[in-house]
């Protein structure tokens, strides 16, 4: 039996749709769905005589993304035409960037294991226009819709630095967080605003000799799960294939496979890398872009602390768990709410619980994001402080938060209105305790007798007091009174 060691190697080609109001080279509005071929003009229809003019916002968003990915931003960049014929590409060339992309040589850090970051190198990031869509319906024909044609896309290419499906997934999630944080993209995989194409192969050591399997490019991935599963699938498929055929990587034997989510397998789409000849050349209709250092710095100033840095900082600075820090940093608005509340004096763990439990539950129920819930940091801080001061119990926080989404009243006012303020007046509570003691002689005996039953009976009495106070008694004070009564 020979020994086989095997490592999976994955690089990604990623397309991110930029969050602009209009297309990359024309003023057609960008919206999801809508009547087919309704958002089309002479430019994105590729009519003769039409000319592209670059969307400044698209360019600036890309530069911000490039900076966030630690790329070197070029001082000179230009546009090239990439030629191929396809019905969803009206000009039969795509405006893209070839030899002088606006950014190169960056990296992204992804969380691995517990609290560690792994650095994945970014080869390059460039801007290009999206194609339209070919719709294959029943019948002998295909339909072409150009609404998407000309949508600005950021293409990011990574080095083959990932070594498992879970790392690929982690990168995808991390990238999504980053571009969402920066407002660069909505980055919904379901809506196709973020598309991943992994290039997968195996490095195998068999009997002391290293082999590399042919690279497979996987397409049709529209969820993080599909991304991870397809890589894992390729891992085992390629190993099997290698053991059966011994086939290794050589020029031109890269294949393309599509992910079949229902069956959980990849299906061969194209056996060999076709001899594509894209005939790139500089687009004479567009001017190059010169980026001054000033401009780049201005873009840099628009960046914010990136999610993973935030996540690690929350663990370190606020002693939150990995999990909690991850939840809080998933969305920029949530992280900002958290930080705002802490800044206003909320105890971090307390604030975290209010947001991550009550808050996210509310958002979920409303089908909206936290940012859309009319909850501000001041309110969250106020709630946290009330819990901390035992003015309300932890359970009341959710009710106050829920009410906050509907009114502009202060946390305190809401708590009073909803009768959630705990009774802390010792003499009032003592009356209640006395009444409970009078009504439950058996339990009182059990407490006094000590031993096994004593603790349960004490709890029972406590419960009775709380019941009498309709839940508004401060448990700490009640417990102190009980202790005093029974010595």
């Amino acid at each position: 039996m020979s020994s086989v060691e095997c490592k999976v190697v994955i690089g990604l080609e990623i397309h991110v749709q930029l969050l602009t109001k209009t297309k990359m080279f024309c003023g057609c509005a960008l919206e999801f769905a809508g009547e087919p071929n309704s958002r089309v003009c002479p430019v994105c229809l590729g009519l003769p005589g039409s000319l592209p003019v670059m969307n400044r916002k698209a360019f600036e968003l890309s530069v911000m993304a490039g900076l966030a990915l630690n790329c070197k931003i070029a001082n000179f960049t230009k546009w090239d035409r990439k030629s191929y014929y396809y019905p969803d590409l009206p000009k039969n060339y795509q405006i893209s960037q070839y030899d002088l992309p606006f950014s190169e040589h960056g990296f992204i850090e992804i969380p691995v294991n517990s609290g560690d970051a792994k650095r994945i190198r970014i080869t390059r990031a460039h801007l290009e226009e999206d194609a339209g869509k070919n719709v294959h319906t029943a019948g002998n024909f295909s339909q072409v819709d150009l609404n998407r044609a000309g949508t600005p896309l950021l293409e990011i290419v990574t080095e083959p630095d990932m070594n498992s499906g879970s790392e690929v997934r982690a990168l995808a999630i991390e990238l999504q967080r980053i571009v969402q944080y920066l407002g660069v993209s909505e980055a919904s995989m379901q809506k196709g605003q973020m598309r991943f194409e992994p290039n997968v192969n195996l490095h195998i050591i068999k009997d002391g000799k290293e082999y590399k399997t042919p690279i497979t490019e996987v397409k049709n991935l529209n969820s993080f799960r599909a991304l991870e599963e397809s890589v894992n699938y390729e891992h085992s498929r390629q190993l099997e294939e290698f053991l059966a055929t011994g086939k290794t990587m050589e020029m031109g034997n890269k294949s393309t496979r599509g992910w079949d989510a229902d069956r959980g397998v990849t299906v061969l789409q194209r056996e060999k890398e076709e001899a594509h000849d894209y005939r790139y050349f500089p687009d004479p209709d567009l001017l190059p872009v010169k980026l001054t250092d000033e401009w780049i710095e201005d873009m840099r100033s628009k960046l914010c602390e990136l999610p993973l840095q935030k996540q690690f900082r929350y663990v370190k600075e606020f002693k939150l768990s990995e999990y909690d820090a991850g939840v809080l940093t998933a969305e920029r608005a949530v992280a900002e709410l958290f930080e705002g509340a802490v800044e206003q004096g909320g105890e971090p763990k307390r604030v975290c619980n209010i947001i991550s439990q009550a808050g996210l539950k509310l958002a979920n129920e409303a089908g909206r994001s936290m940012a859309e819930l009319n909850i501000d940091a001041e309110g969250v801080a106020a709630i946290a402080k009330m819990v901390e001061a035992n003015e309300i119990n932890a359970g009341a926080a959710g009710a106050i938060l829920a009410e906050m989404t509907k009114t502009d009243k202060s946390a305190k006012a809401i708590a009073e209105e909803l009768n959630l303020i705990q009774k802390s007046d010792a003499s009032e509570l003592e009356g209640l305790v006395d009444a409970v003691i009078a009504e439950n002689p058996q339990a009182v005996d059990d407490v006094k007798s000590g031993g096994k039953k004593s603790k349960a009976a004490r709890g029972f009495l406590m419960g009775k007091v709380m019941q009498k106070a309709k839940g508004q008694a401060n448990p700490k004070i009640v417990s102190q009174i009980l202790a005093k009564k029974f010595g």
Partner: protein, 102 residues
Amino acid sequence: MAQKIDIDQVRKVANLSRLDLSSEQLTEFAGQLSSILEYVEKMNELDTDGVEPLAHCLEVSNCFREDIAKESLGTDKTLSNAPEQDGQFFIVPKILDESNAS
């Protein structure tokens, strides 16, 4: 004398250009393109080492438009010149090999 570009190359170029040419046309083009290319290679008499290629004669850069929506043509006008359409889409014979897309 051997031609600069042979018929197989001409066929390949015709394919890249999406031109369905007859074999007579291929032969004719092979001859004509060869003599044009031979002439064009006159450029090789010039030493261009260190010369910056000039793709644009304008020495300007950074032309942008603001991200403001303009009216689109709408479906009817978009499809108005289409050889085949169904009121919503352009129609082409069935595309079988989706992977041909870039």
